[in-house]
């Protein structure tokens, strides 16, 4: 990559790696595609620590929308969680301008045929039970990444991340 933009796929790979590890391991080669390379490592070094966290939040938001569109009977169960999760994302975007800019850059990047810059939309879950399980797993992944980021952050940002993590843990508990 010759510019400072980072592909959404690379960022999401870092987010997934982070959630799986339960920590903010940005030094890991978290790309979804292929083995680690020097350029991938260099790319990850440029990623703001909050970018993968926010990307995971956006993925959760997308899943909420997908599930509620497929299963409107879940609105009563999920709408408050979706609304609060969106509020978390908005607050974090405002508090983390570098990460917000990186995410905005991935949204406007021109897709490359060699390295797709967006994750294909997942099909909706097959049934309500599967949908709720998917949402709960995404919520738990998000809570884990928020909590890990709070420990690594400082000051008011750490408190905001911790608060978002606590709220998200509550969502997961209600969905368990």
């Amino acid at each position: 990559m010759g510019d400072s933009r980072v592909s959404r796929r690379t960022l999401l790979g870092a987010a997934v790696t982070t959630a799986a590890a339960g920590g903010m391991s940005f030094g890991l080669s978290g790309c979804v595609e292929g083995p680690p390379s020097e350029s991938a490592t260099q790319t990850q070094a440029r990623i703001d620590p909050l970018t993968p966290v926010l990307l995971l939040q956006q993925e959760l938001s997308g899943l909420y929308s997908l599930v509620l569109e497929a299963f409107p009977e879940l609105i009563g169960t999920l709408s408050d969680f979706q609304s609060q999760s969106s509020a978390h994302t908005e607050a974090l975007l405002a508090a983390a301008p570098v990460a917000a800019a990186q995410i905005a850059a991935t949204s406007t990047a021109v897709p490359s045929t060699a390295t797709p810059s967006s994750i294909p939309a997942a099909p909706p879950p097959a049934d309500v039970a599967t949908a709720l399980t998917s949402v709960r797993q995404a919520v738990e992944a998000s809570a884990g990444s928020l909590r890990a980021a709070a420990i690594r952050a400082d000051g008011d940002l750490a408190a905001l991340l911790g608060s978002c993590a606590a709220s998200t843990v509550c969502h997961g508990r209600m969905l368990a």
């Binding site: 408050d80 969680f81 609304s83 609060q84 509020a87 978390h88 607050a91 909590r147 709070a150 420990i151 690594r152 000051g155 008011d156 750490a158 408190a159 905001l160 911790g162 608060s163 978002c164 993590a165 606590a166 709220s167 843990v169 509550c170 969502h171 508990r173 209600m174």
Partner: protein
């Protein structure tokens, strides 16, 4: 441990003191079925208070003592009021720990305070669920 980090822990400790006092009021107000949960929660807050006091002493300071009594945010005259007060107490504890997170220098103190903030948010959720309040979950606990 820095001065701000100690002060953050002291704020959380003061919130725990207040909650322990408040749960005495809650226990007298709620239904008999809810009292065991009140006892469990009270025990959790006492454990949190003791852990905070130990951390503060390890940091070289004296833990702030409890007040003789605290002002209730509203009169509690029935079980519904008790449930509402319990939710408010957890919100107060969450504020104490959120402040502790913001003042912490070390990852150990942040991890401890975040875990306690999560516990407070979960208890607040449980009380709000029992009270029939919506939304059940706090949006920004502690802030």
């Amino acid at each position: 441990m820095s001065g701000p980090e100690i002060e953050g822990l002291q704020a959380a400790l003061r919130a725990e003191h207040s909650a322990i006092w408040g749960y005495g009021v809650v226990g007298a107000a709620v239904s008999p079925e809810a009292r065991q949960f009140v006892r469990d929660v009270d025990a959790a807050h006492r454990a949190g208070r003791d852990e905070l006091a130990d951390l503060i002493r390890l940091g070289g300071a004296d833990p702030d003592p409890a007040e003789a009594s605290y002002e209730l945010p509203f009169p509690v005259v029935d079980a519904a009021g008790g449930l509402r007060l319990a939710g408010e107490l957890e919100a107060g504890v969450a504020r104490g720990y959120a402040y502790a997170i913001s003042q912490a220098d070390t990852e150990e103190t942040k991890a401890f305070s975040i875990a306690a903030l999560i516990d407070a948010a979960l208890r607040q959720t449980s009380w709000r669920q029992q009270a029939g309040s919506t939304p059940v979950t706090p949006e920004f606990p502690g802030l």
